[in-house]
Symmetry: C2
Subunit: 269 residues, 2 copies
């Protein structure tokens, strides 16, 4: 069981920001990553459809005999986590929302937290609900930023148009004087510098990747599931479409080249 | 047979630019429109996946007993038209590429034609191939414009960032001194004004919607399939996800409100 891989799924390439932290923190672990590139993006789709997609993805990861699953997609975490946990128990399933919220609660002093994400993530109010379970006196301001994903995917990280759009998206949050901003989408860490510049030095920018890796380590340790082999783990990448595009874009997210990427038919799972 | 509806499918909402022209040109025809909003966009996906999606969409339209099908999506037209025709003969299947190319060939004087579209459409070379079958001496310059779709879908039609991005996308085509530019994506007609301003008055901008409606009328007339009832036809809209979002965005494309939109499970077809 201990040598079984960690499973990670995302709607596409964005979850690699989470995978990168897992690779760094848990170098001896084997990892299977699945990106649902045939049906990406999830952020504009209905909760029911995202639930169905998440279930397929989970079934695929189970076929790979994973010991734990990380839902590295905010939209899927927001809509499907409870369902997946109930259905696949006792396999632990970790989402990206709770770890980010816990960190944000430590960071905020004025109790005004902003959340940016896809349309679905923001309208699901998943972050708001999670924050409310911890503290009822925090004000939460959500803002969808639908163009950030395509801008990142086209590599327009530091371009003028990206700054213009980011300023517009973020200005209502600045006006609310938030002191903590949660990046509620796995693509957004690539825009961290721009977001920091616009929000100012005093606003803490919360990126879930690091804390999710931390939580994954904790859960594995608790359950006695850490890989005890002292050698570098293997990393396998699967997608439901266009492995070439994933490879190319994956480099931007990981900072190094991905070896081979296999394509599977996700609708069969 | 004559009273049967015209079927139109697209990856999402963009095909409504074509539907609008059909409604205008053929007011007595009944129309079934299907937007594959659960799997949108097609423009970044592989030809094999788009072919599979197109087949599902076509099967759904056949279940609606259509008399003709318009593939109102450039990516699907580029990859799937031959397959669909072979498989569903004798139902006529019209794509958006050939009608646009024929019009472009009439417009060009210097025989330098530009084509803009999604990544898949441009890398398929479908426009180039179609132009070559008519005239081998035309130079064709393709350019993918991946951000145009999300910019349109967010309603950023006349914004500074859209102009910045459009200028960057179009400048290589201006340098090539094209005199005709094909809008190879059904979302792009909404950016026609900006594109015209950037390209200059001397460049003819070709939008396939009008000519596709013309071709549809011609084919129906030829085959004796025009609806002879002299009363306004009905229009039915189906999507594979998120009817609310389709309705909202559909208004921007049609210029008026869509009545009801039904959701179907496209993976069952």
């Amino acid at each position: 069981m201990n040598e079984r891989p960690i499973g990670i799924f995302d709607s596409g390439v964005g979850g690699l920001t989470v995978a990168k932290e897992i690779f760094k923190r848990l170098p001896f672990e084997n990892v299977v990553y699945f990106g649902d590139t045939a049906r990406v993006p999830y952020g504009t789709k209905s909760p029911e459809t995202v639930k169905k997609f998440s279930l397929d993805n989970m079934k695929f990861l189970m076929s790979q005999k994973v010991k734990i699953v990380i839902v590295a997609c905010n939209t899927a975490s927001a809509t499907s986590l409870g369902d997946l946990r109930a259905r696949f128990s006792p396999i632990p399933v970790i989402g990206v929302i709770k770890p980010a919220v816990e960190l944000a609660m430590i960071c905020t002093e004025n109790k005004k937290i902003g959340v940016i994400g896809t349309e679905s993530t923001i309208s699901s109010n998943a972050y708001l609900k999670e924050i409310r379970t911890l503290d009822f006196n925090v004000s939460v301001f959500g803002r969808p930023c639908p163009l950030f994903v395509p801008l990142v995917e086209e590599g327009r990280i530091n371009k003028r148009e990206t700054i213009l759009i980011a300023r517009e998206y973020l200005s209502p949050l600045k006006e609310k004087k938030i002191d903590t901003l949660i990046l509620g989408c796995t693509h957004y860490p690539l825009l961290k510098d721009i977001i920091k510049k616009i929000m100012g030095k005093k606003v803490a920018i919360i990126d879930s990747a690091g804390v999710v890796a931390e939580e994954c380590e904790e859960v594995l340790r608790e359950k006695g599931l850490l890989n005890r082999k002292n050698r570098k783990g293997w990393h396998k990448f699967f997608v439901s479409d266009n492995p070439g595009r994933f490879k190319k874009m994956g480099e931007m997210f990981l900072g190094y080249e991905i070896g081979s990427v296999s394509q599977i038919d996700i609708e069969k799972f």
